[in-house]
């Protein structure tokens, strides 16, 4: 099972992205646990400078918002 972390800030576009990730995981039956991370200290440990960002099993796989097709390609 994959551990997916969505690094987000509190702004609307970020929250929307997090919901999309959850949706994609659910719709495609991807075996993964999705968690939203908004604590700045934890975000900085991943060394990202633009939000939202996507971390799978401790590795940053995407920076900036992605659409559904792109997400699917990344998460599959």
């Amino acid at each position: 099972m994959k551990q997916i972390k969505v690094l987000v800030s509190s702004c609307k576009c970020n929250q929307k992205f997090a919901s999309l990730v959850e949706q994609v995981v659910k719709d495609n039956g991807i075996d993964a646990q999705v968690e939203r991370v908004s604590d700045m200290m934890e975000i900085m440990q991943h060394d990202v400078m633009s939000l939202p960002a996507l971390v799978v099993d401790g590795k940053v796989v995407a920076k900036g918002a992605k659409n559904e097709a792109e997400l699917l390609a990344i998460l599959k």
Partner: protein, 322 residues
């Protein structure tokens, strides 16, 4: 071409008289909306392409690993101009720079220019005021970021950062991280760049339409030279007043430019208008509250004060030269 379409739609199809206020207003609305949306889409695509090849991590590594003899301020400011700015990212960005051991002044140079010169502001400016005024706006925005960063760097303000940021600063490493280029071909990248550009357009569309709507109404009904008496060129306090008025306003550039355009058409000098614009997009209260996470109020006040002073100064200069 867009003008002809607007003329045809409003005057021929709807049968409104060009001499009436409502006719002029509607024509202006249709023409301006189409033109600005088109420009915004185009510029977002161009910036998206630039960004795909020069992501922010690459800039940071470059600044960390090269001795630039003062040019680092200009570079940070230039990159601030071409990176799309979302205020959500300002904190991770700030920390990322600090963590990389970059001087605070360089970080500020980036932080000043990034919201000031962004794709939305540039597209709106281009649509409203033409190429010359846009060039003046962009160049002065970059110069302002460079000088602002230098001046703030001279003040040695590091002790005014929040405690946890200073901890990160103490542990910062000057070793540049490895920047891995994503090996994706241009053809594969373009669709997502276009999708992103469209996302930007859609995100501000409502504000653009509202802004142009207000602008159009004023365009049709406020008489020429109306504002001249209040905000005229020889009024020494017009520029600082415009700047002070602008800081609490958090209309994004999209909403405010069409209104400012009408101000200029009705007699407000362009320099005053540019200063107002810069203060609206560059300095805002929501941004200040975001920055509170990484800075003390004193540092925020110094930061805003310095930038505001520079904006006022450039407003006076524009009024002299344009």
């Amino acid at each position: 071409m867009i003008q002809q379409f607007a003329d045809w739609l409003i005057y021929s199809l709807c049968g409104l008289d060009p001499a009436t206020g409502i006719g002029t207003a509607l024509n202006f609305f249709v023409y301006d909306s189409l033109k600005i949306i088109f420009l915004l889409f185009l510029i977002s695509i161009i910036m998206g392409i630039v960004n795909a090849y020069f992501p922010i991590e690459r800039l940071r590594n470059y600044l960390q690993s090269h001795r630039l003899f003062g040019l680092q301020y200009l570079f940070a400011s230039l990159f601030g101009a071409i990176t799309p700015f979302c205020s959500c990212s300002s904190i991770p960005l700030f920390i990322g720079f600090v963590k990389g051991g970059l001087p605070l002044g360089v970080t500020f140079a980036f932080l000043i220019t990034s919201p000031l010169v962004n794709e939305v502001a540039v597209a709106m400016f281009l649509g409203a005021f033409g190429v010359k005024a846009t060039a003046v706006y962009v160049i002065s925005g970059i110069v302002l970021g460079t000088l602002g960063g230098m001046v703030l760097g001279c003040f040695h303000l590091d002790h005014l950062l929040s405690a946890w940021v200073r901890q990160i600063q103490a542990m910062s490493s000057h070793q540049a991280g490895e920047w891995e280029a994503e090996k994706v071909s241009f053809g594969h990248r373009l669709p997502s760049i276009i999708a992103e550009a469209w996302r930007i357009v859609r995100g501000v569309l409502v504000y653009v339409l509202i802004g142009i709507g207000i602008g159009a109404a004023m365009h049709g009904f406020v008489p020429e030279g109306f504002f001249e008496s209040y905000l005229a060129r020889d009024n020494w306090y017009a520029v600082p007043a415009a700047v002070v008025l602008a800081v609490p306003m958090y209309a994004n550039a999209a909403g405010i430019v069409p209104v400012v355009q009408v101000f200029v058409a009705k007699g407000v000098p362009l320099g005053t208008a540019i200063a107002f614009m810069m203060a609206v997009v560059g300095l805002s209260l929501p941004e200040a509250t975001l920055l509170k996470k990484v800075m003390t109020w004193r540092l925020i006040a110094i930061f805003f004060g310095t930038v505001a002073a520079f904006i006022i100064l450039s407003g006076y200069i524009f009024n002299l030269i344009i």
